[in-house]
């Protein structure tokens, strides 16, 4: 019997190695896998590359991971926001590498990784300083940049409901980066607010089919805070 549901955080994050590329879901605190990020702090992997829309706020979660010096590089679209104090400290101190990627390009690069597309062209960022070093090509009279797939070794995501096959639903705007990151990583670990019986999810409504999910852990943490 297939059963992707694991009983502990240690099991959920087992095998994440130093140097991994870790994709972290969520937009702000909505859809953010807080419990998995705390567990990653415990787990100890270092020299990480983190892909996340934001660079953390306050002193916990991703910010704590940065503060502990565990992240070598961060890839994000919006590093600086209210409360991103730790990121700014470590960045100013030269302790972290930053790759700024437009949000849509970041999403599509991960979707491409999941979809077996090594590279694609986009008009986003043409002529801007984020085009530096990228191949530019004219297609049908318009200029485009070549963007490469962005793969993860691990994706940590948050879901609303999950079953033992790893099928997931999300709640409202908590969907955001989670399904795309699930596609893009070698191993996807989902924390889910609710575990349901196999067959209980409406097949027309499953947003992430279990094929993209390796492990599920039950974390009924309640409402996200807005940060």
């Amino acid at each position: 019997m297939i059963n992707k549901i694991v009983q502990s955080m240690a099991e959920a994050l087992a095998g994440i190695r130093d140097g991994s590329v870790v994709l972290l879901g969520g937009f702000g605190s909505v859809g953010q896998p807080n419990a998995l990020i705390e567990a990653l702090i415990e787990q100890g992997a270092k020299d990480l590359t983190v892909v996340s829309n934001n660079a953390g706020t306050g002193r916990s979660g991703l910010a704590r991971l940065l503060e502990l010096g565990r992240v070598r590089k961060i890839v994000c679209s919006y590093p600086r926001s209210a409360g991103s104090v730790v990121f700014e400290e470590v960045y100013r101190a030269g302790k972290i590498e930053l790759e700024i990627v437009p949000q849509g390009t970041m999403s599509e690069r991960m979707r491409a990784a999941g979809a077996g597309i090594p590279a694609f062209y986009t008009a986003t960022a043409v002529g801007t300083k984020l085009a530096t070093g990228k191949e530019e090509r004219e297609i049908g009279g318009r200029k485009y940049l070549l963007e490469e797939a962005l793969h993860g070794d691990v994706a940590l995501i948050e879901a609303w409901e999950a079953d033992r096959w790893g099928n997931l639903t999300y709640r409202s705007s908590a969907r955001n980066f989670n399904p795309v990151m699930a596609m893009a990583a070698e191993l996807t670990v989902a924390q889910a607010q609710h575990i349901v019986e196999l067959g209980a999810l409406d097949p027309e409504k499953i947003a992430t089919p279990g094929i993209y999910v390796g492990r599920v852990v039950h974390v009924a943490y309640g409402e996200p805070a807005v940060t």
């Binding site: 702000g28 999403s107 599509e108 960022a125 801007t128």
Partner: protein
């Protein structure tokens, strides 16, 4: 530098008034993305009988207004991380689907704030210096390059009195040649092949006075 002062008789619009002025120009049935900050206010000024469908790039199509505190859904925020609602007929999508919609040219309109707009339609809205190595771009470049039309909503001048309508942007660019119209506290201007054309101007302000606070050359629209 154009740092002249405005005539006393001129009443610059407040941010709310600029938003209301812009809202007048959005036709029923348009799909619209409103950028973080002042552009978000535009939604408040659409008459209830005119259906306009708002998109938020974090994955909402058919976004409704800010809820009453008792009606908050903590999982439902917009790109500015404010609580919002979903209208009947609204739906959710993941980030790649959301930006496919943007990049694919399906939005009729995106309204962004900006630091500078140039007469060739270039826009700078994400970073105020090449020396700032960690600016936050978010979805601005995707929206600017992807929407069918980009309108900018901004103050006509900086706090220190510099013109935000320029011949060429001095700040790092967000996208090239994409702005179609600019709504400021002083005027509404189209970006044309011949540069800025003034469509509308606040009462008490002449074209000459507007030009005196604007770096880029202005022309009047022929009505």
């Amino acid at each position: 530098m154009a740092t002249a002062t405005l005539p006393d008789a001129c009443k610059p619009l407040t941010r709310e008034q600029i938003a209301a002025r812009l809202a007048r120009d959005i036709p029923e049935g348009w799909y619209v993305n409103l950028g973080i900050g002042a552009p978000l206010k535009v939604a408040d000024y659409l008459p209830a009988e005119r259906e306009v469908i708002f998109h938020s790039e974090n994955g909402i199509l058919g976004m409704g207004p800010v809820p009453a505190p008792a009606a908050i859904n903590p999982w439902l925020i917009n790109a500015g991380k404010q609580y919002v609602t979903l209208r009947g007929g609204g739906s959710y999508m993941h980030a790649a689907d959301s930006f496919a919609l943007i990049r694919g040219g399906h939005l009729d309109l995106c309204v962004l704030g900006a630091f500078q707009v140039a007469e060739n339609g270039d826009v700078a809205n994400w970073s105020i210096s090449d020396n700032d190595s960690a600016p936050a771009v978010g979805g601005a470049m995707d929206l600017a390059a992807g929407a069918r039309q980009l309108w900018v909503l901004m103050e006509h001048q900086t706090k220190s009195g510099d013109s935000r309508l320029v011949r060429r942007c001095s700040y790092p660019l967000t996208a090239l040649g994409v702005v179609k119209r600019v709504y400021t506290n002083l005027a509404v201007l189209d970006v044309t092949d011949d540069g800025f054309v003034v469509r509308d101007i606040v009462p008490g302000l002449t074209l000459e006075a507007l030009q005196s606070v604007t770096d880029a050359p202005l022309r009047m629209a022929i009505m």
